[in-house]
Amino acid sequence: MVGPSPQLNSSAFLALEDGSLFRGLTLGCVGETEGELVFNTSHAGYQEILTDPSYKRQIICMAFPPMGNYSFTEDAAESGGVHVAGFIVADSSRVTSHGRGGLTLDEYLRRHNVVGMTGVDTRAIVRRVRTRGAMRAVISSVSNDPAALVNRARGASAMAGADLVRELEHDRAIRVVPPGGKIPFALLECGVKQGIVDSLVRRDCRVTIFPSDSKAQDLLASMPAGVLLSNGPGDPAALPGIVTEVRALIGKVPIFGICLGHQLLGLAAGGKTYKLPFGHRGGNHPVLDLRTNAIVITSQNHGFAVDVDSLPEGTIATETNLYDGTNEGIELVGRQAFSVQYHPEARPGPLESAERFERFLEMVGKHA
């Protein structure tokens, strides 16, 4: 149960494209990694975060200092692998709680080849990202040359314009889960979290998962009662191919988009997306439903947003983020399509917005 402590003596550097440098200790693999540095304010749920495909090519800095306090479990995995480019914590635990044994955070990261960093002033990093925006960064536990690391960070590819959906190595085959489910759904897989699939399955759905390069008619051919556009990594504006297919689905079948799926629907409806300075990542963002005045506290993970002002007639903003007024949901009026920016499947985060799945099923029921 008590794992080895993080290699106390080996130091690691975090170098940012603006020249900032932070020194900490190695966590996970010894090596070097690059990506976009972002922060997440969740207190727990690190396994869900590590395995969420939307974090592809991002280095996550956890704002809450102690991490790795409880054990990793199979049900907390959001996908088959770990997708983050790097993981930064202030205080990595060397033991897990509730007598449940298993891997420590350090061991888990090593097993999944993640270069991480611990023992660093994460609040200083968060503040840097907050004031200067998400930046390209490098973590290295092998280099002693900060200047070179800063240069490498500057050379890393940018998030804006990045098509990362294509880079996700997922199963190209069409899968159906569970074979026995009742209501047939099609899911366009752009890096889906298991939580979304589970949320549908739990509601008696049979989900046919289509790879992201599928055509609209392939999806429609499966005679789905509804289509779900999944979450995923990267810049939605770099996915014109997918947007075209989504556009072809509108009006033909009820559509529900989540996160990247929301942005795709917005683009397909004729709107625009833009990059947020440092995004929303955490489990405490308040979202107001503009029609019911209800507030849900949501799970969030996105760096891009739908530009409300760009929405064409017939597409309305339905939900808004009470922190910064950014868009959290849209609906294509009369066309059976809506989407949310946050994660109603939670994992990690508050569960109350799961009600959105019910809304989708209701819409589907009416359609049928």
Binding site: H43, E48, G99, R130, P286, L322, Y323
Partner: protein, 1095 residues
């Protein structure tokens, strides 16, 4: 939705005196609520019996009443003020129960007042254990197996199919009053008796015992549009079975996965909705079975609580303030988040630090008390600390706790030293093994030293898993302590180089601990100097509600070690006010009041006020009170660093009680200017030898005394002075370890005890002034002029600690000449000591002489009381004087009672400590105080008694058991009681004597004479008042049993003749015309009310 317009005036009910389980936190919540509602334009009416509160400052409300929190008194206030609504969720269990009482007595209906926030039904469903269970099962939340008992027999019968141990939980109580764990039928029987009495509705839940389950609390808020948010989740380090108030707790939860946490979160919303709390904050408690993840609901409080105060300080989210606004009809997204200034209150705070709360106990005051922690709360205060990891947070909290440690051991004190010797021995060494067993035993039983013992066990090589199993504390916490053990082992092997020094500071070690760890003759010099040289400086980070996601505009800081500091000097003239740390007996809310008043005054004068304190319950640690709040331990190291970080011109050390005063030397030596009375003057008052010279020089008298360093010395001196003799250590507060010796053999014993408590400092031997009267005088001086704030005459004679004795302002039996002489002496002290600020002098009066008992060149416990009684903000003025203002310029003259009598009465925690003799002595034991205001002494005393919760009877039996020397003077009061219609009973001697004087007093046998008739009669309810004047020289066993029986049955006891006489005078009013008319504070002294009700 804008604020409610159907109501325009709101009555806010306070929590009354500080008791175990209900402390300053309700002043914090009440003050926040009053301020918020007033700002919204409501007419606020406030009632609280506790004068030492900020909420009862006249400017906090439109109409303020310091009156008993009884249905009778509050109905009178309602009749006068005609409020539209009542908020009862800010004043703890007291206010909630009072609201329930008002509803049941029909008062609310009669006057058309509604309860807002939580209605009657919600209060009932939350507090009635059975109703709560129904709510939970309807909400789909599991509860432990349990049955509700209303009689003992009932309880035994219905709980037959639960297996022992079982937990008893009375309804409508607080702090686990009357609760406990029964391990057998016998225990269940006796505990049921106590529990049924403790519950105001006579209901006890007998429940399956979830020992070893983990305990969590969620602070939940709901608005009128049914939006729910969790403000904070608090995890108890001590598992179920130890009251949350007595547990070490952390926030947020450390060991919960997101999955388990979200389950609890959803359950807490379901419960809040089920209970029907319309708006406001609630606290929901859960138990979790480790391994299986089973979650059961334990209880919910439909009000703000101690935990919500903690949660507010831990997150920066002001729960009480928001709850008040929600009750007024606002919605969460209409209320600003003050900390960020740009977001709204509709969110859940994210933390990026670890908060630890540690309770503070007072077992040193209650030697016979069982120190095992259980479901009934025993702690008297708490400290909170913020760090970037658990070890840092924990060590900071321990440092702030003022238990003589600088962190988690590593100081060579107590068992730390022994353990360090033991670990050098062989693992098989029998001495080491025996010691290890002893330590493990102490880990098994929950107690306040458990975390220390866990560390010792780890040092001795016991496996973390074994300790986790033994204690029920989660392995995660044990391993966090193990980090310290491992670190110290490395330091012992390899020394403390600069890298390791930095690591040590990140783990929360204090400089003092590191001095110890690096060895006495460390070549590298003191840790502090080394740190400065190596640039390892403390940085300050903001508590910002959002883990850095938004910029914080409210400077609420904690110290840690890291790359970046967020506290930068503003360039304004900054003044540090040092707070009083955790509440303890002898130092509580009174000093926090003084600190707040000082802060308000200096802010008004344009200074930048920097508050330093570690007590989460307080108003001083509200981010609203100061310009910059540093939530830090009030110890030299941390204060010096804050001084640097703020560029403060100096520190005020003389209004926060003994805590800041005791570090005055240290911080002055570290380069911080002490504002106000000089350290040298403080020494002249505190050092007894210097003090004796001072008294002599001023031509005043003091009881014959001497300072001794050993037992033989003590005996010799006592022989010269003559017995009885008072023994006490120097430099302690609250009469700590002070005792009266009537003979040489007693002195021998007591002197040893005192020596142990005084940490190497000398002992004081005083002539004990038997049967003397006592007075407290408070004054304010600017170095030249002195204004007397007030002379308070004690009701109880000298020999009962000033903090435990009732007091009257103005004096009620002293001649004007005596009062003048005391004032005069006080002025002399002020002048001679060049006091700049407040001074408190205690006198004993005997045979027309005044004797000086002590001089405290600082704010005293009585200052807030006198502020209310005189209408002058003495502590605020003191702070101004320290910054150079004069009395003349502040227009301050002697305090004036303005036509009223003000009586202070105290409340004592004996009901928490079953084995303790409930007797008053020179050692202070009370936890809090109330005030009664009346046109006569008797009326004020009556109100004070009722406010203190003494259930005075209007008829029934009175038991008299009067010591010989009091018999003669007691005749008059016996006669009075008899003519008021009471049936008098007495122990044989008393009965015979009184009957001989023509007062009929029925005889009952004394207990030790084989009769327990007295006890039986108390149990039967025949006796509703006890006057038991004890002779402290005699074995007090029977007296003690009488007092205890009375206490357990809520029968008031008066143990001195003076108090009994005062009470008799009060009864004369009470029997005739009830509790007396409420007095509106704002009307005293012809002040015109600040708001005229327009009708």
């Amino acid at each position: 939705m804008p604020r409610r317009t159907d109501i325009s005036s709101i009555l806010l009910i306070g929590a009354g005196p500080i008791i175990i389980g209900q402390a300053c936190e309700f002043d914090y919540s009440g003050t926040q609520a009053a301020k918020a509602l007033k700002r919204e334009g409501y007419r606020v009416i406030l009632v609280n019996s506790n004068p030492a509160t900020i909420m009862t400052d006249p400017e906090m409300a439109d109409a303020t009443y310091i009156e008993p929190l009884t249905v009778e008194s509050v109905e009178k206030i309602i009749a006068i003020e005609k409020p539209d609504a009542i908020i009862s969720t800010m004043g703890g269990q007291t206010a909630l129960n009072l609201a329930k009482g008002l509803h049941e007595a029909g008062v609310l209906d009669r006057h058309g007042v509604k309860l807002i926030g939580a209605g009657f039904e919600a209060i009932r469903k939350g507090e009635d254990r059975e109703a709560f269970r129904v709510v939970c099962s309807e909400a789909g939340v599991e509860v432990p197996r349990a049955v509700v008992a209303r009689t003992i027999e009932d309880g035994l019968r219905i709980s037959a199919d639960l297996s022992y141990p079982v937990v008893l939980r009375p309804a409508f109580t607080l702090g686990g009053t009357g609760s406990g764990i029964a391990r057998s039928e016998d225990e269940l029987r006796s505990m049921l008796g106590i529990g049924l009495l403790a519950s105001p509705v006579g209901e006890v839940l007998v429940e399956e015992c979830l020992l070893g389950w983990l305990e969590y609390e969620l602070e939940v808020m709901r608005d009128a549009a049914d939006r729910c948010v969790v403000i904070c989740v608090i995890e108890n380090v001590d598992p179920m079975g130890v009251h949350t108030g007595d547990s070490v707790t952390v926030a947020p939860a450390m060991t919960l996965s997101d999955h388990l946490y979200q389950k609890m979160r959803d359950a807490s919303f379901a419960i809040m909705r089920g209970v029907g709390v319309e708006t406001g904050g609630s606290n929901v408690q859960f138990a979790l079975q480790p391994g299986t993840g089973r979650i059961v609901a334990i209880e919910m409080n439909p009000r703000v609580s101690r935990s919500s105060a903690l949660a507010s300080k831990a997150t920066g989210f002001p729960i009480a303030k928001i709850a008040a606004l929600l009750a007024a009809g606002y919605l969460l997204d209409e209320i600003d988040n003050d900390i960020t200034g740009r977001t709204k209150a509709a969110f859940e705070p994210a933390l990026d630090y670890v908060v630890t709360k540690i309770p503070r106990f007072a077992f040193e005051k209650f030697k016979e008390a069982d120190q095992t922690l259980t479901t009934s709360m025993k702690s008297v205060g708490e400290v909170m600390a913020i760090g970037r990891n658990f070890p840092e947070s924990l060590q900071k909290a321990l440092r702030g706790l003022e238990i003589g440690r600088n962190g988690l051991a590593a100081d060579g004190k107590g068992l730390d030293a022994v353990t360090r010797v033991m670990v050098k021995k062989d693992g098989d060494d029998p001495v080491r093994r025996e010691f290890t067993q002893e330590v493990l035993y102490k880990i098994k039983m929950p107690n306040c030293d458990r975390l220390f013992n866990i560390k010792y066990a780890l040092m001795l090589g016991v496996a973390a898993e074994e300790i986790a199993t033994l204690s029920g504390i989660d392995i995660w916490f044990i391993c966090q302590i193990e980090r310290l053990v491992d670190f110290e082992a490395v330091v012992a092997r390899e020394g403390l180089d600069d890298t390791r020094l930095a690591e040590a500071k990140r783990l929360g070690y204090s400089d003092a601990q590191l001095d110890f760890l690096s060895g006495p003759d460390s070549a590298a010099g003191s840790t502090r100097n080394r740190r400065t040289a190596a640039g390892i400086e403390r940085v300050y980070k903001c508590v910002d509600t959002c883990a850095g996601e938004f910029e914080a505009v409210t400077p609420y800081f904690y110290g840690t070690f890291g790359d970046e500091t967020e506290a930068v000097p503003s360039g304004r003239e900054a003044v540090m006010i040092l707070g009083s740390g955790p509440n303890r007996i002898g130092q509580g809310i009174e000093f926090d009041c003084c600190c707040c008043h000082a802060a308000y005054a200096l802010r008004e004068d344009g200074y930048e006020v920097v508050m330093v304190n570690s007590n989460p319950e307080t108003v001083s640690t509200d981010y609203d009170t100061s310009d910059k709040l540093f939530f830090e331990p009030v110890v030299v190291e941390d204060v010096l660093d804050i001084g640097k970080a703020t560029n403060a011109v100096g520190a005020i050390v003389s209004i926060g009680g003994q805590t800041p005063l005791s570090i005055a030397h240290g911080i002055e030596a570290g380069g911080i200017r002490i504002l106000g009375t000089s350290v040298a003057s403080i020494d002249r008052a505190e050092d007894r030898e210097l003090f004796a010279t001072l008294v002599h020089k001023l031509g005043l008298k003091q009881p014959a005394n001497a300072t001794v360093r050993g037992i033989e010395d003590a005996l010799r001196v006592a022989g010269k002075i003559g017995y009885p003799i008072l023994v006490r250590p120097s430099y302690v507060l609250g009469g700590r370890a002070m005792q009266v010796a009537y003979s040489e053999s007693e002195l021998r014993l007591l002197a040893q005890e005192a020596l142990d408590a005084s940490d190497g400092r000398p002992l004081l031997i005083d002539q004990y002034l038997d049967q003397a009267l006592e007075a407290d005088v408070d004054a304010l001086s600017d170095g030249r002029a002195t204004a007397i704030a007030g002379v308070m005459e004690h009701v109880e004679p000298a020999g009962i600690h000033s903090g435990d004795s009732a007091g009257s302002f103005p004096a009620y039996t002293f001649s004007p000449d005596i009062v003048e002489r005391m004032k005069d002496a006080t002025r002399k002290f002020a002048k001679e000591l060049e006091v700049c600020g407040l001074i408190n002098v205690q006198f004993a009066v005997k045979g027309g002489e005044i004797y000086v008992i002590e001089v405290n060149p600082r704010a005293s416990r009585t200052v807030p009381f006198l502020e209310k009684a005189t209408g002058v903000k003495w502590a605020g003025a003191a702070a101004r004087v320290m910054m150079g203002r004069t009395l003349a310029d502040l227009k301050i003259t002697d305090g004036d009672p303005r036509g009223y009598f003000y009586i202070k009465e105290v409340v004592l925690p004996f009901n928490r400590f079953e084995n303790v003799d409930p007797v008053l002595s020179p050692e202070m034991k009370s936890t809090g105080e109330v005030m009664g205001i009346g046109l006569t002494f008797a009326e004020a005393y009556l109100k004070a008694q009722l406010a203190a919760g003494n259930r005075l009877p209007k008829r029934g039996g009175v038991l008299l058991t009067i010591t010989d020397r009091d018999k003669e003077p007691a005749v008059a009061l016996a006669r009075d009681l008899s003519s008021l219609g009471f049936d008098l009973f007495g122990t044989p001697g008393t009965s015979k004597f009184m009957s001989g004087q023509g007062v009929p007093v029925g005889a009952i046998g004394k207990i030790h004479e084989g009769s327990s008739e007295i006890i039986d009669r108390i149990l039967r309810g025949d006796i509703s008042l006890v006057i038991n004047t004890r002779d402290s020289r005699k074995a007090a066993n029977d007296a003690r049993r009488i007092d205890r029986a009375a206490l357990n049955h809520s029968v008031p006891v008066y143990s001195t003749l003076r108090a009994a006489s005062a009470m008799t005078e009060a009864l004369k009013i009470y029997c005739r015309s009830g509790a007396g008319e409420p007095v509106r504070l704002q009307k005293i002294g012809g002040h015109s009310p600040t708001f005229q009700r327009s009708e």
